[in-house]
Amino acid sequence: MLKLCAVSVIIGENRKTTIRKAVSMLNRKLDKILPKVQKPGRYVGGELNSVIKNKEDVDVRFAFCFPDTYEIGMSHLGIKILYSLFNRVDYIWCERVFAPWVDMEQAMLENDIPLYALESGDPVRDFDFIGFTLQYELSFTNILNMLRLSGVPLLSRDRTELKNIVIAGGPCVCNPEPLTDFFDLFLLGDGEEVDLEVIELYRKCRAENKTKRDFLLEAAKIEGVYVPSLYDVEYNADGTVNRYIPKEGAPATIRKRVCTDVDNMYFPESFIVPFLDIVHDRAVVEVLRGCIRGCRFCQAGFLYRPFREKSVETVNRQAKSLCETTGYDEISLSSLSTSDYSHLFELLDTLHTWTEDERVSASLPSLRVDNFSTELTDKIASVRKSGLTFAPEAGTQRMRDVINKNVTEDELKRTVTIAFNNSWTKVKLYFMIGLPTETEEDVAGITALGQKVIDWYYEAENRSKGKRVSVTVSAAAFVPKPFTPFQWFGQDTMETLEKKQKLLKSSATSRKLTVNYHGAQTSFLEAVFARGDRKLNAVLLEANRRGLRFDGWADCFDFDAWMQIFADLGIDPAFYANRQRSFDEVLPWDHLDYGIKKSFLIEECKRAYAAQTTPNCREQCSNCGVACFKGGLCVEKRC
């Protein structure tokens, strides 16, 4: 058992001096460049509740790297949870590192400033662990860029000592194969479960003068730890995977870790409060993990199973603690689908017993079309009248049945009518195009549905008279992802997607209806890396050599440069993105076990093509396989 103590935000004068000294060496150079970059507050730390320790007093230094800007990274709940979890342990000091924006990067390179951690100002290359969270495929280049700016060798095999252990967790770890050359190990599943065990092992190995190799071999024995260098891959002549060969006793499959007791799962009592206006600047409490819905396009819906809810008391206590320690006046009740929380109204009523006096408001990150009510909107003060957003995801009932988004047109009508009768006039609807079996009729169905929403506005008897209704339909291009029933699906080519986008745009006739769509090129690249294999390591390395990063940002994304790299390396990106795979193909992530049975995904895929829906986990268990974790809804139903 680890010895834990309260987060030590230092007050002692002597400790402060040591740290100040370390920072000031860097400061002299930083002082020169910070006044000249955009938003220097991104690069200085010093926020309320950030944790300062004395580096002489800790054994393990952990650089928690978020491969995007400060504003994006600081909005992410995972980093807040793990930062506090690690820093609660006496011998660990976890610090934050974000990707410097291009102006800062340029200035750092010109002035010979290596990437540094915000708390101590110490270079990342001095850290024991360099941990990344893999949230999004288009941030992969930022990972390599951050390693390069740190001066750490990019390739795992070039980092021979037992230090600078480069690790990752997060959703994209479900297929980390395009990154296996760079990382020493990946952590699958809930970080609250596995991360500290790995850190403790490292500390032990170092105390015993073990080598990095000894450490990795031992780490591979921990459930949830994937050490990619312990596997050889054989390919077929057609380029598909033949098999993965575990070496030196590494397990044939690696199963993700799951916290089954979410009420006792670690959750921070306080958050760092940024100075800058970040994307989600509020207290966030996770009310549940997982999702009951089983939408077939949604990777998170499968990766985070089983569905596990916290009790009202736990959520209330955590929300109160966060507001008290941060001064935030808004609590977001976060999860993949908060309106599916069994005790939502009870929770909102409990929160109301103190939030009103404290001028705190509660909000839900997203609302579902099928359980929206006046009762709900009355209880959530911060659903401001500016606009409502719903995600029907597809324009026709047939298409919604294919993706198992069990929302009907009648439900949408009921929902928007309630909204219009309660003085809302703006509705935003999210859709996808490029879904399996999609026809022109399905695409045109998107704008037709948008038009119907406009018509329903004029049918709503208590609508705000004299106001103009505005409906926005926004269509993203579908990216097939691992561990979903669509993991075999060949993504629509960019030409097809662009044709569908044109059709979408031209089918909108009313000025009250706005049509937006998102780039086909980024979705294509996302599809390549989401389902890529180890051959893509070379592509990422070359992309780094050619200076690519921030691919998720329109001002940095250079599609032609990517295509040039694929061409130069003789790798066909369509092999990964557009090729329809067969059910018997060995997929590059088949050795990773998220509890979901492949046979279940095949079954779901077949049902999708037959436009058959599958009931949600609460209605009926579909035997997906995650009951193996013996937690959450899977076991509750058996009681």
Binding site: P35, G41, Y43, V44, G45, G46, L48, V273, F275, R359
Partner: protein
């Protein structure tokens, strides 16, 4: 009861790079966290009533910064200071609370200390004095009505120079506040241009005055 009080604080270290807007938000949160009996604006979106006398430029240290708040209940000042500091990052420290003697708008001048780290303080001093000896120092000044060319020599002519080992220290009083101010970096930028070399200067705002150079209270 409503009582306006003036809160005095310093903004140093990492907080130098916090913009005025961000500082405002940071203070609002600290007040909320401290659960102080403050007056909230009565608009659609109530928020803590806060006004700052003279916003500090990004990158400057400030030791004599002030903001006004409105209390709806009496609270001992030491308690107010302690509670507020508990909710602030450690590079922003409240060090006094007073009853305002002047209006925030009365701030018209400020004293700045500029520190230049250099191996040759005497040489740097001569060079900068040389810049001040020029017939005029024209700079482009960004104003509300667009850019205009201004001779800043009269503002900087009275600057005091002092040398210490490895350091040149300059002290100057300049117009500041709502009626428009002169930023001390205008002179540094002009000097860099004239001397053709980079000058790494740390700026500290040490005091605030009204138009008659009486200490702002």
């Amino acid at each position: 009861m409503r009582k306006d009080v003036r809160v005095w604080f310093s903004k140093t270290g990492t907080a130098r790079y916090i913009s005025h807007l961000d500082l405002n938000r940071c203070m609002s949160r600290a007040f909320r966290k401290a659960k102080l009996p403050l007056w909230y604006t009565e608009g659609f979106n109530p928020h803590v009533f806060l006004t700052f006398a003279a916003p500090l430029s990004l990158g400057f240290e400030g030791h004599h910064e002030s903001m006004d708040i409105r209390l709806v209940e009496d609270i001992p000042y030491p308690e107010l200071i302690e509670k507020l500091n508990a909710g602030l990052p450690h590079d922003i420290r409240v060090w006094a609370v007073t009853e305002p003697e002047m209006k925030g708008n009365d701030v018209a001048n400020a004293e700045y200390v500029l520190r230049l780290e250099t191996e040759d303080p005497a040489g740097a001093c001569e060079a900068l004095k040389g810049v001040l000896a020029l017939p005029e120092i024209m700079v482009m000044k960004h104003g509300k009505k667009g850019d205009k060319s201004v001779d800043i020599k009269p503002y900087f002519a009275p600057m005091q120079f002092g040398t210490e080992p490895g350091l040149l220290k300059m002290t100057v009083r300049l117009p500041a506040g709502n009626q428009g101010g002169i930023n001390p970096t205008l002179f540094i930028d002009a000097a860099e241009k004239h001397l053709g070399q980079e000058l790494l200067v740390r700026v500290e705002r040490t005091r605030l005055f009204d138009k008659g150079f009486r200490e702002f209270r």
